[in-house]
Symmetry: C2
Subunit: 156 residues, 2 copies
DNA sequence: TTATACCCTACTATTTTTGTCAACATTCCA
DNA sequence: TGGAATGTTGACAAAAATAGTAGGGTATAA
C-alpha cells in the first residue's frame, strides 16, 4: 500500500480554510475600524506571518482594506453581504478544477468533444460553484446568530 | 507572491482521474472477458506500473475481478449500472473532505457545535457526494452513445 | 516451457503545502 | 521626537503528498 494511502479527497488547503476563518472574524467586527491581524491569529492559534501572506492577497484583490501603523489593521472592503465564500476561496486557492481540462482557458485534452469523464468533472465543479457562490459572509453571521445559545468565545 | 501561487482548487489527484478513466474503459468492454491492463494504459498513455497500483486497490475493494496469466486481465466485478463514480473515487482518494473536521469519525475542532465555517464545508461535501453518487458507469456509457457522432477511437 | 499478464513491495524524484525569518515602511501616541 | 505597534515584502526551508519507477514473483494459456 505504499504510495497508495491518502488522507482525503477534494480537500481545501489551509490557505482557504484559514482565509475564510479570518474573513469571517473580520466580518464579525465589520464597522469597528481596523482589526490587527495579531488578534485574529491569536484567537485561531495560527502563525501570524503565514496568515499575513493570505490576507495580503485578499487585500490586493480588493476584499480587504488595510491601515498601517499603530491602531492599524485590516477590515472588509465591502459589506459582508457582498462577499461570498466563493470570492474568498477562488482568490486563495485558484479556480475550482477537479481536473485541468475544466479550467477556462486551460489545458484541453485531445478528444475534447467526446470525453465522457470530463462531463463528470464539470458536474462536480458546477455543484461546488453553486454552493460557494450562494453563501455570503452575512449568511455566516446570521447562522452564528441562530447558534447563539452554543456560542463560544473564540469564534469572535 | 512566493509560496502563494497555486494551480487549482478541489483538484482530484491522478489517482482518481486515471482510475475513473480505466474503469470507464473496462465498462465499455464489460461482458467481453478479461481486458489486459496494458491495453488500457497504452490507450491513455499512462504508466502501466502506476495504473496497476490503482487497479489493484479497486480489485481488493471488490469493484474488479482479475484473471492471471496469458489472456488474462481485469473486468468489472459488477454491471456498470451498479458502480458509481463515487464508489471509485472514494476507494482511490479517500473520503470527501474539504476539511478534516467533516470526516466521519475524524478530527473535531473544539468549538464543534458552533463552528460556522464547518457548516460551509459540510454543504460543499454534501453537494459533491450528491453528484458523484448519482452517476454510474452505465450513465457514462449512455452519454458516450449520444456522443457517437463525435466518437474518437481512443476513448475505447 | 515460454510468453503473457497479474501481484507485490520498495524506492525515488518532484511538487505542493505550510510555514519561518528578517528587513523595512508607516502611523500613532506619549 | 522617538519608540512601539502594525502592515509589506521577499527569500528561504522543512515536511508532506503526489506521481511515478523498478524489479522480482506467481499463475495460466498455448
Amino acid at each position: 500500500m505504499v504510495g497508495i494511502k491518502r488522507g482525503g479527497f477534494m480537500r481545501l488547503s489551509t490557505r482557504g480554510r484559514y482565509g475564510l476563518k479570518a474573513m469571517y472574524q473580520l466580518a464579525i467586527h465589520y464597522g469597528e475600524g481596523p482589526i490587527p491581524l495579531k488578534s485574529v491569529a491569536d484567537r485561531q492559534n495560527l502563525s501570524e506571518n503565514y496568515l499575513e501572506q493570505l490576507v495580503s492577497v485578499l487585500r490586493k484583490e480588493g476584499l480587504l482594506n488595510s491601515v498601517r501603523g499603530a491602531q492599524g489593521g485590516y477590515m472588509l472592503a465591502k459589506p459582508p453581504e457582498n462577499i461570498t465564500v466563493g470570492d474568498i476561496l477562488r482568490i486563495l486557492e485558484g479556480d475550482i478544477a477537479p481536473a485541468d481540462c475544466v479550467i477556462d482557458g486551460g489545458y484541453e485534452c485531445e478528444n475534447e468533444k467526446s470525453c465522457v469523464t470530463k462531463t463528470v468533472w464539470i458536474k462536480i465543479r458546477d455543484s461546488i460553484d453553486e454552493v460557494i457562490d450562494s453563501i455570503t459572509l452575512q449568511d455566516m453571521l446570521d447562522k452564528r446568530q441562530r447558534n447563539e445559545k452554543n456560542f463560544i468565545d473564540w469564534e469572535d
